[in-house]
Amino acid sequence: MTFFTVVARGLIRRPVRTGLTVLGISVGIAAVVALVGISRGFSKSWETGMKARGTDVVISNMGSSLIPKPFSASVIDRIAHLPHVAATCGILVDLISVENAQMIMVSAREWGGFSWNNLKLISGRMPHDATEPAVLLGRTAANVLNKKVGDKIQIETGELSVIGIVDGNAWVENGSIILALPLFQEITGNLGKINIVDLRVNPSTSAKDVQRLCEQINSLVPEGRAVVAGEHITDSEAYRMAQAMSWGTSLLAVLVGVLGVMNTMLMTVFERTQEICILLALGWKRGRIIRMVLWESAMLGLLGGVAGVLIGSVGVRILGRTPSIRGLLEPDLSTGLLAVSVAIAVAVGVVSGLYPAWRSSRLVPSRALQS
């Protein structure tokens, strides 16, 4: 028998209470995993989407929304001639409700722009020209909308034909409806407007030159902001707000976990007053009693953390399959996030056990003889 046998026996003596406490912590940790994983996944999806399109710099005005504000397409004329700029592509993106999908990404691209090049046809064909009333569907979007080549699709007031299913090599691309820019400008009443400029730099351009280019664009284009691809999401006010909200909600859930563990450990200490007094009477140091209580609460945290990571990972995947957000999100459940979540749970356990441990160490051993 080792000291940890004593710790383990303390936990299994009340299996239902231990189980419920572990469940309480795991719900908090699952919230951390799910919310933080989703918000990180959102930015990562955009970043991989940008990389898949071969975009180095993005010009947009994210403001406080998740979709950039539209601005005039003439912006492209102001930046196309700048040094290191190899190519540009004006894009109008929006998150809208299309048929049975409550929210889906629509990405309308300047005809002939490089942002079409990464799309690999799985079935069907590419549009003949910018005026053909047709769309391509990313393969996830096709699944979500339950469409195949030859079907019709209603986007707001416009009825268009599905002419191809594509693989865009990124979650965001595969979850999108892709069409030529003029069609979507007309459908949404945004004639002559775009909200993103994808910009590709020459292959030999250094990171420093890219930064300098961004500064130049920012001085030339006050209606947008140029940032290195991917950063435009993390840089946006809306993303930061969403991330703060996800951490805030997670912390609340974790706080509930702290109170749960503290309650359990206090109950344990009260219930085991005589047992702790016997241990003291038999010569256990107060420090060992404190360690015993802290290890028990840390173990509750660890078990809750592991269970929470499992629940969160599975839950977020199930969530990702729900019709309302299917194809929109790819949670970023990195090893780092999972490890941090378990570490938070263990810390919750230790912190929650401090007061009960202190209480237990103040007990007078003579109480063991009183019954």
Partner: protein, 274 residues
């Protein structure tokens, strides 16, 4: 239940432990010495194991005087029965001797060291004292074998050594077939034998037994008393046994009777007077 309680391994362990404890043996005839902590490795040699001078205990509300000026001297190896009616202070006296509680007044020494001033009271309780309680106080979620190992955590023994020693102790009290039984599956007599084995875990110098047969039928009570008496005899342990049963008290070499928190008769004093 007939194996020698003081098995070779136990004795070896006892010698090793005692040499590490830093307690001096009473060999000279000084009546009192400086009240030092037990960490003093070379303390004065004193004749009395325990010496209590005017110890009193008032409980927190200040209304109950459990002890009212108790004077007591105990030699090493004595078998003392403390008897008296309920509430006379027997158990409180035992708690003071075992450092489970502190007197509110008076001096209480163990081998010349002040018990209330011990820097490491846990060490004293773990290594010098073995407790036997009326209600056994075994931990219900641990087997007999594990219960006996509980006090050994404060000793420098490996897990395997703890287990071997606990097996030896349980065998010595006749429970070799009950090692993996939980307390709920043991009879009252068996539980008390586990508690006795536990009290010997660190080869203490003193056994403090509080009504050890109080919860047992007469047959088991007899067996337990025989076992405790044998322990005292074979290991020359000091035994302080609290009982309200005068029949049990008469087995001791010295009987102390208490009433209202005071010692009213002490057979040693009677012998001395005679």
């Amino acid at each position: 239940m007939s194996e020698n309680i003081g098995a070779e391994k136990t004795e070896e362990h006892a010698e090793k432990s005692k040499s590490e404890r830093g307690f001096s043996d009473p060999t000279s005839n000084h009546l009192s010495g400086p009240a030092t902590t037990l960490d003093t490795k070379t303390g004065p040699s004193l004749p009395y194991l325990f010496e209590a001078v005017g110890i009193a205990k008032k409980f927190e509300d200040g209304q109950v005087h459990a002890l009212r000026g108790v004077n007591l001297r105990v030699m090493a190896g004595e078998f003392i029965a403390v008897t008296g009616p309920s509430g006379c202070g027997k158990t409180t006296l035992l708690q003071m001797l075992g450092a489970l509680d502190r007197p509110t007044k008076g001096t209480l020494l163990y081998r010349g060291n002040s018990i209330p001033d011990l820097r490491d009271p846990w060490r004293y309780r773990a290594l010098e004292i073995g407790f036997i309680f009326q209600a056994f106080h075994l931990l219900p979620t641990f087997t007999a074998l594990e219960n006996v190992q509980i006090p050994m955590f404060e000793n420098h023994l490996s897990a395997a050594e703890r287990k071997d020693r606990a097996v030896g102790l349980l065998k010595s009290v006749g429970l070799k077939n009950r090692l993996d039984h939980f307390p709920a599956k043991l009879s009252g007599g068996e539980r008390q034998r586990v508690a006795i084995a536990r009290s010997l875990a660190n080869s203490p110098s003193v056994l403090l037994a509080d009504e050890p047969t109080g919860n047992l039928d007469s047959e088991n009570a007899h067996l337990i008393l025989e076992l405790i008496a044998r322990l005292h005899h074979e290991q020359n342990m000091t035994l302080v046994l609290v009982t309200h049963d005068i029949g049990i008290a008469q087995r001791a070499s010295r009987i102390i009777q208490m009433k209202d928190g005071r010692i009213v008769t002490d057979s040693e004093s009677i012998i001395v007077r005679k």
